[in-house]
Symmetry: C2
Subunit: 452 residues, 2 copies
C-alpha cells in the first residue's frame, strides 16, 4: 500500500492524496450517516489523464476504486465498505465548464461541476439545465450521469440519460472512452456512453459530460389540487398528461406528508385536508396560467384547487412539497424508498401499501410523495429501527408485484443488490455480471455496488 500511496502522490501531487484519518473522514461517510467504511487514501485527480493513471495504479494492485462526486447519494454507492483495500476517488477538482453552444444547447462540464453551477451556466446562456433536485449545491454532473439522476423535472425533460449528449470516461484498465462530438446521430458501434450512464461507478469513471440544455420558458404556473383518493390522483395524472404539453411538474403529496410539512413550516392548510394532493406546474412560451387552468378544467380538477397567481405564492406551494423530506427527517431517521410503479397499477399499489407496511412493521408511519407523473413515488417510513429492513422489503416486493421497480432514481448502490432479483430476471442479472466482468475483470471499480 505504501508503494501505491507514493505512486498516487506522483500522479496527482502530494497534497491531493489524503491519508490522515481526519481528512478522509468526510469522504468515508455518506451524508445520511448510514453508509461508512474506510479507505487507504482519498485521491483528488485534476484531469482525465490523472484519473487514468490512478486507475492503472489501483487495478494493477487490485485496490478498489470508489468514485465520489458530491457525496449526496442515498444508497451507499459512493463510500467505501470494508475489504478489499480501497481508495476514494474524489472527482470534485474536475470542475471546469466549457463554452456553451447556443444552437445545439450543449455545455461541456467536468465531472466535478455541481448541478447548481451547471444550472447557473445554463441560465447565463439563456437556457436551463432541464434537471433539478434538492442536492443541487453538492451533487455533481459526474454523479448525475453515473446514477442517471431524476428529480423534479424529469416528467418534461427526462432523466440525466436524456440530458447527456455525450461523455468521456476512464475504464478500469485506464483506457479512455470519449463521445464528446455533440453529434445527435452517431451509430459507429455500441453506444458505450449509454451503458455507462446509470452504472454507478462500477464500469468506468466518468470524467466529462456534454450536457444537453433545454429552452428557458419565461412563463410559469403552479396549482395545488386536492383529490379524494389514490384513484382520483392517478386518474388526474392520466387526464393531465396528454392535455398539458407545457407540464413541468406533477407531484403527489399524501395526507401524512402534507400534514408533517405544514407542521414543519408552521403553516396552515391552503385547502381542506383530503387524502391526497397533486402539485401541477407548467412552463410555457405562451400563457402558462391559461394553459394550466384550461387543462385542469378539462381534466375535472378545477374544484378545490389553489392556483398560485404570483411568484411568491408559487414559492409557498413549492415549499410545501420541498419541505416534506426535511420535515420527515426532523421527526426521526426514515427508511427512504424510491419505488417506480406504472400508472396502470399505481392505484392498487397505493391501496395495498398501508396493509403491507402494517403487517411488516406495525405502528410505522408511512409517507408517500413524489413524482407521480413518472410513477416514481417516495415511500418514507418512520418507526422501524435503522437496520430493520422488513418493511423496506415488503414495500419493494409490492412495487415489484405491481410491475414496478425497486429504484426509480436513487440507484441500487450497496443497499439494494439483495433486492435486484425482485425486478430483474436471472438472465438479466447474468448479462449484467458478464458485462461487469468484461469491462472490469479484476473487479476494482466500486465492488459491491449494483451486483453483490
Amino acid at each position: 500500500v505504501s508503494d501505491l500511496i507514493s505512486e498516487l502522490q506522483t500522479i496527482v501531487g502530494d497534497g491531493h492524496v489524503l491519508t490522515a484519518a481526519d481528512l478522509r473522514a468526510g469522504y468515508e461517510t455518506d451524508w445520511t450517516g448510514r453508509w461508512q467504511g474506510e479507505s487507504v487514501a482519498v485521491v483528488r485527480p485534476a484531469d482525465t489523464g490523472e484519473v487514468s493513471a490512478v486507475l492503472r495504479a489501483c487495478a494493477s494492485r487490485r485496490v478498489a476504486v470508489v468514485t465520489q462526486g458530491g457525496n449526496t447519494g442515498l444508497v451507499g454507492g459512493a463510500t467505501p465498505a470494508g475489504p478489499p483495500p480501497a481508495i476514494v476517488l474524489s472527482m470534485r477538482r474536475l470542475d471546469s465548464i466549457g463554452d456553451a453552444d447556443p444552437a445545439l444547447m450543449q455545455l461541456p462540464c467536468g465531472a466535478g461541476v455541481t448541478l447548481a453551477r451547471l444550472q447557473q451556466a445554463a441560465a447565463d446562456a439563456g437556457l436551463q439545465a432541464g434537471l433539478d433536485l434538492a442536492a443541487r449545491d453538492s451533487a455533481t454532473v459526474g454523479g448525475l450521469a453515473a446514477c442517471n439522476a431524476g428529480g423534479l423535472q424529469a416528467i418534461r425533460y427526462g432523466t440525466a440519460r436524456r440530458r447527456i449528449a455525450g461523455l468521456e470516461a476512464v475504464l478500469a484498465d485506464g483506457g479512455v472512452v470519449s463521445k464528446m462530438s455533440g453529434l445527435a446521430k452517431d451509430n459507429a458501434g455500441y453506444d458505450l456512453a449509454s451503458l455507462l450512464i446509470g452504472s454507478e461507478g462500477t464500469l468506468a469513471v466518468i470524467t466529462r459530460v456534454l450536457w444537453s440544455m433545454v429552452p428557458r420558458f419565461a412563463d410559469r404556473a403552479l396549482a395545488l389540487v386536492a383529490v379524494d383518493s389514490a384513484a382520483a390522483a392517478v386518474a388526474g395524472a392520466r387526464a393531465l398528461l396528454p392535455r398539458l404539453p407545457s407540464l413541468e411538474l406533477l407531484e403527489l403529496i399524501d395526507e401524512p406528508s402534507l400534514r408533517i410539512s405544514l407542521e414543519y413550516l408552521a403553516g396552515s392548510p391552503p385547502v381542506p385536508i383530503t387524502p391526497a394532493w397533486l402539485l401541477v406546474g407548467c412552463a410555457s412560451t405562451g400563457d402558462a396560467q391559461e394553459e394550466l387552468a384550461a387543462a385542469l378544467v378539462e381534466s375535472g380538477l378545477d374544484e378545490r384547487t389553489v392556483v398560485a397567481v404570483d411568484a411568491t405564492r408559487r414559492q409557498r406551494l413549492l415549499s410545501i412539497r420541498e419541505s416534506v423530506t426535511e420535515a420527515i427527517a426532523s421527526a426521526g431517521v426514515p427508511h427512504k424508498l424510491d419505488v417506480g410503479v406504472p400508472l396502470a397499477t399505481l392505484e392498487s399499489f397505493l391501496d395495498e401499501l398501508p396493509a403491507v407496511v402494517g403487517a411488516a412493521a406495525p405502528g410505522a408511519r408511512t409517507f408517500v410523495y413524489g413524482h407521480l407523473g413518472d410513477g416514481n413515488l417516495h415511500v418514507n417510513l418512520l418507526g422501524p429501527a435503522p437496520d430493520d429492513e422488513s418493511a423496506d422489503e415488503a414495500v419493494l416486493e409490492l412495487a415489484a408485484r405491481s410491475g414496478g421497480t425497486i429504484t426509480a432514481e436513487h440507484g441500487v448502490g450497496r443497499h439494494k443488490p439483495q433486492y435486484l432479483s425482485l425486478v430483474r430476471s436471472d438472465a438479466e442479472i447474468a448479462a449484467m455480471r458478464a458485462i461487469k466482468r468484461a469491462l472490469d475483470p479484476e473487479g476494482v471499480l466500486n465492488p459491491g455496488v449494483i451486483l453483490a
Copy 2:
C-alpha cells in the same frame, strides 16, 4: 445441419423453415443487391418463446443467426455473408400491435411491425410516431431499434433510441431480457435496453419494442431557402435551431442534388440555382406559418425563399428532397455514405470535400444532401466502380478528421468494420469486443457485423 433443420421445424413449424433456394433468395440478398450470402435456412418464428428456442438450437451448434426485419438496411447487416453456416432469422411474423396508452403516449409493437403500420397506429391514437424514413413500408420496428434509425424528423424527436421506452430481446443463450413496464425512471441495474439499441443484431435479437409516440401537431409549414455557400447553409442552421422550437425538418440539398432531382421529376427550379438549399419545416400547436416566417426573418434567411402555402405545394417541395435518392440511383450505382459532422466543422468539411473526392476518384460526381440540423449528411458518389472503396475511405477519413463519425444513421454493418478505428479508439473497440464476448461467447449473433 439436417439435425438442426428438424429441430427448427419442431420449434416454428415446418412451413416456417424455408430451405429451398428460391424461397431463401429474397432473404439472402439485400435490396441494393450489393450484399448477399447463403443460409442453411430462413426461419420465421412467431413469438419470443420461439426466438429463444431457435437461438438455443443454433448456439449449441455454433450456427450463426442473422436477424432480419424488413431487409431495408444499407450496410449488409441483415444478410448472411458466407461461412460459418448461418440461418436468417426473419422477424416479420412478430407483427402484433398492442393497445396504445394515450396518457403515456406508449405503444407496444412486435419487432416485425412495419414503420408504416406503427405510424398508422399512432395516428389512430391521435398522435404520431415521431420517426419517419423512406423505407417506412418495409422497415420494421425491430430493425429501427437494432440500428438506432434516424431519418427526417430526428432533429425534433431524436433517433429511435429516444423513441424507445422499453424493449424485450433474446440473448445468444436464449435468455430473455425485458423492460416493457413503460416506466420512464428505472435505475435497477445496467440499462441493457440502451446497450442493445444500435447493436445491429450482434448482442441480442429484439422481439418487442415499447414505442414512445409524440403529440400530433396540426399546423405545418415548409420553406425552401436558397443560400450562397456551405458557410451560409451552416450559419443558417445555427441561426434557426435556437429560434424555432417547432422545427421538425432542417435539410440540406446541394446544387447537384437539386439539379438531378428536378431533372428526374421533370420540374423547374422553384428558386434561382445557387450552391445550396435549406429545406426548413415546422409543426406547431400554434401558427406554424407565422413561426417559420418570423424565424426566417430573424435568421436573415427570408430572401430567395419559397414558402409552401398549402399542402399541395408543401408536398411538391418535399418531393424535391425525397426524390434525390431515386434520381441518383436512376443515374448509376451510387456509393452511399451517411457521415455525421459537427456543425462547428461542417463548413470546412463541405469546402474540402470536392478536392478529397477528386483526388481519390477523379471525375466522380458528388451529391451532398440530408439532415443538416443533426450534422448528418448523405454523401453519394457516382462514378467509382461498386467495389472501389478509395473515394469512400477518403470521405470517411475527412469526416473523422472533422471530428465527425463514419455513420450517423445507417450503422456499421458488414461495410464499415474496417473503418471503425477512424472514429473509435483502441480502448473503445476493445471495450466493444469485450462486451460482445461477454454476451455472445460463441459469436453466433450476426458475426462480422460492427466488429470484423
